[in-house]
């Protein structure tokens, strides 16, 4: 997408903005879908992303950073979507004792099939925080370098590295729990 079109969009040109939406909608939707795991939520987050982008596009100071800027809006939209979906009264959650009524975990059994693996992954992924999900999607799915992820998340690169490390550890831990 040429810079002139982006600059026109930034100045409030609606036609240019529509072209911008068409060029980014697929990536935004797939990012949302990977983070949220629900087509309906992903569609809502995608719509919210572009509406929010339209409202604030006049504040974008450097058109060269529009993708990082849009990515950041997208992550925030996903965060809001997830929060709306799950916002319930928070109660104390008792830590379940594995010996208390749970099935004995089978650590040796291999994944029976791809369906089971996908299901385990989705349940484990749902255990992660929105930030952990986001950093994993940005890095593993979109394969963005750390510097770009830092721009999207608005965090220093060192923080991104530690977040990524933490997110992967959290995913491993969640997968381990799901496999029990």
């Amino acid at each position: 997408m040429d810079r002139a079109l982006i600059e026109n969009a930034c100045s409030g040109d609606r036609t240019a903005f529509d072209s911008f939406v068409r060029s980014r909608i697929d990536a935004v939707y797939r990012t949302s879908l990977a983070i949220l795991g629900s087509e309906a939520d992903a569609a809502d987050a995608t719509q919210e992303t572009f509406v929010s982008a339209w409202r604030h596009i006049g504040e974008l100071r450097d058109p060269d950073n529009i993708d990082a800027w849009l990515g950041r809006i997208n992550v925030n939209a996903c965060r809001g979507q997830l929060r709306r979906r799950t916002r319930t009264k928070v109660r104390e959650v008792r830590i379940l004792d594995p010996d208390e009524g749970a099935e004995p975990a089978s650590t040796e059994a291999p994944m029976a099939d791809r369906m089971a693996a996908a299901d385990a992954f989705d349940r484990a992924f749902a255990r992660l925080s929105i930030d952990d999900r986001s950093v994993l999607v940005l890095h593993h799915l979109q394969e963005r370098p750390v510097a770009e992820i830092a721009a999207v998340l608005g965090a220093p690169t060192g923080t991104v590295k530690s977040r990524l490390h933490r997110a992967r550890a959290a995913l491993e831990s969640a997968l381990a729990k799901e496999s029990r």
């Binding site: 409030g12 609606r14 903005f17 529509d18 939406v21 909608i25 697929d26 939707y29 990012t31 879908l33 990977a34 795991g37 569609a43 995608t46 719509q47 572009f50 509406v51 929010s52 339209w54 409202r55 604030h56 006049g58 504040e59 950041r72 809006i73 925030n76 939209a77 965060r79 809001g80 997830l82 929060r83 799950t86 916002r87 009264k89 928070v90 104390e92 959650v93 008792r94 830590i95 996908a118 992954f121 989705d122 992924f125 925080s129 929105i130 994993l136 999607v137 890095h139 593993h140 799915l141 394969e143 370098p145 750390v146 510097a147 608005g154 690169t157 590295k161 990524l164 992967r168 995913l171």
Partner: protein
């Protein structure tokens, strides 16, 4: 430099690719286009106004004269980028109509001391509305119920028998408005002035002749960012060896305080936030006097606050001139910060006929893009305990700006008011104020005290001994105390939203979009700022409340950037009513 981390694990990428696979939903592009059609126009962030130069008042007349030459040069310089635009007017750059004012006053939740601007007619008379704190100026016409206008020093401004115009008021209590002044519009087409305008009556930077300066005494509105610094009395360099002065009256707050510096600017990111930078005031900021107003309207020190301010031009003795000199220095005294509009959705009362008033202009359109009202700040006793009514009266007497209109947690029995002895029509000496006879209620109460001393009960606090409850009490179902109103001590953790996370944000005007989350937790969250607020679901074992609003709505500042903070909160069920600050007792 390759910043890529370790090679991507195929398993993770494969699963994420699977999650992200599939067709775009039919009609999504059309839905987005329709939603964008409905959305407000993009905000314009950049402005290109001309430069101005305002010398600090304390720099004195000599510096003012010296800088006039610089001013001449400065205004001739090319325009500069001043950053984010101030996005709001009042409301939509017009005053409230009489009908809207009537509806606003009918809102029982309207906080005392709220300031607003309305275009009304005042029936000027002083034989109604007896009050021992202020003289009566008149009655607002077309309100349905009687609404009295009281004044501190402005009675002579309205000669009568009727006065029509645009006025700034503070809400004093049911049926009472306090007059801040008649508003001089910025121009024939705009109500609110900006930093770049020539302010009404302005004599910027020049010496004036007192008391004949024609600009003195003009009251007008300015939309700007306010930054206020409060220097400790131990800071000889910036407190000028002085001592803090009282806030003054809400209708006539004290302006100058040797230990307070206040500036208005068009942007939020240029003003000093630390005392040493006081000497580096941006040349395009205006120093104003807002010491008392800052306390009365809860302006937090060191944080840029956006709003529309009621300003009055004044002429004061120059620092290096004898008191007998006829030469003075112009000053800008800030009287109030207007309440965010719409602060709620008031419903017009059936009695508000306002026959002479123009039909109310729908203001609901302002709701979608309007500013967010921060949660109110209240007061509680040291350590979170309830105040005694005597302590409340002492606080009301000593620091009314920190008490009036705010929620206070007190131990019953409650008096109906805090009365003041004094001649009718004159402000009484504050030392003569004391609670009236108790009439109601053992137990613990959340109350509000008006500037007139009337006590309004917000509700009974669920507490056995007046000390803060544990968060367990709030999340327990059913509530063991039988009441939903409770004071808790808890940790607040939050995540700023996209447009709120750049200091000195957050601000009301920039935090309306995007998501922001905060939680209260019983135990101190670990893992850095926002570590818990973004966890979904919460970690096992955490007792917490998802507040569903941003930390900026509770603190209105970026104070939480350094991590979770412990404070006291008044909660109604699981909704935050106010953040409570322990009072410093006189």
């Amino acid at each position: 430099m390759n910043e890529q981390l370790q090679p991507t694990e195929n398993g993770i990428r494969e699963q994420l690719s699977r999650r992200a696979a599939g067709r775009l939903p039919d009609g999504l592009m059309a839905d987005i286009a329709a939603a964008v059609d409905r959305a407000p126009e993009p905000r314009k962030a950049l402005r290109w106004p001309g430069l101005r130069l305002t010398p600090p008042r304390l720099a004195g007349a000599a510096m003012a004269l010296a800088l006039i030459a610089v001013l001449i040069v400065a205004v001739a310089l090319p325009a500069v980028n001043r950053g984010p635009a101030a996005p709001t007017g009042y409301p939509l750059d017009r005053p409230l109509t009489a009908t809207e004012l009537a509806a606003l006053l009918a809102d029982p939740a309207l906080p005392v001391n709220s300031a607003f601007v309305a275009e009304v007619t005042i029936d000027v008379r002083n034989d109604v509305c007896p009050m021992n704190r202020y003289p009566t100026i008149g009655v607002v016409e077309g309100m349905g119920a009687q609404v009295c206008v009281m004044g501190a020093t402005l009675a002579a401004e309205l000669p009568g028998p009727t006065a029509s115009g645009i006025f700034a008021f503070r809400y004093l209590g049911a049926g009472y408005l306090g007059l801040l002044g008649r508003i001089t519009p910025a121009s024939s087409s705009r109500l609110t002035a900006s930093l770049d305008d020539a302010w009404p009556g302005g004599s910027d930077g020049a010496l004036v002749s007192t008391p004949a300066w024609p600009g003195s005494g003009k009251t007008f509105l300015v939309e700007a960012w306010m930054t206020q610094l409060r220097f400790p009395t131990s800071d000889a360099a910036f407190c000028s060896g002085g001592t803090p002065v009282p806030d003054g009256d809400p209708l006539d707050p004290n302006g100058s305080d040797p230990c307070v510096g206040t500036w208005l600017d068009a942007t939020a990111d240029q003003l000093p936030t630390r005392a040493p930078d006081y000497l580096d005031i941006p040349k395009d900021a205006r120093e104003v006097e807002a010491a008392g107003m800052g306390n009365i309207d809860g302006i937090q020190g060191g944080v840029a606050v956006h709003g529309i301010f009621v300003v009055r031009s004044a002429s004061e003795q120059c620092p290096d001139q004898p008191s007998t000199s006829s030469v003075g220095c112009p000053a800008w005294r800030v009287l109030a910060k207007l309440a965010d509009w719409p602060r709620s959705s008031p419903t017009a009362p059936p009695t508000a006929t306002a026959a002479s008033a123009a039909p109310a202009t729908p203001v609901s359109s302002a709701t979608a893009t309007g500013p967010l009202a921060p949660a109110p700040v209240g007061i509680v006793g040291p350590g979170g305990r309830a105040l005694t009514i005597t302590e409340l009266a002492e606080l009301w007497t000593a620091t009314p700006g920190a008490v009036v209109g705010r929620v206070a947690i007190v131990k019953g029995p409650l008096p109906v008011s805090i009365g003041c002895a004094g001649e009718t029509g004159t402000p009484p000496p504050m030392s003569s104020c004391a609670p009236s006879s108790p009439t109601a209620g053992e137990g613990y109460w959340a109350v509000k005290v008006s500037s007139l001393g009337a006590i309004q009960i917000v509700g009974r606090i669920a507490s056995a001994d007046g000390s803060p409850a544990s968060l367990d009490t709030v999340v327990a179902v059913p509530h063991p105390t039988g009441s939903n109103l409770v004071v808790v001590g808890a940790w607040l953790d939050w995540v700023p939203s996209l447009w709120c996370d750049t200091p000195p944000y957050p601000s009301d005007s920039l935090c309306g979009a995007g998501a922001a989350f905060s939680i209260l937790t019983k135990e101190q969250p670990s893992g850095g700022p926002g570590a818990f607020a973004v966890v979904d679901p919460f970690p096992s074992g955490v007792v917490g409340i998802d507040l569903g609003l941003g930390g900026y709505q509770i603190y209105g500042s970026s104070d939480l950037q350094d991590g979770p903070i412990h404070s006291f909160f008044l909660l109604n069920d699981e909704t935050i009513v106010a953040r409570l600050e322990p009072a410093t007792l006189p």
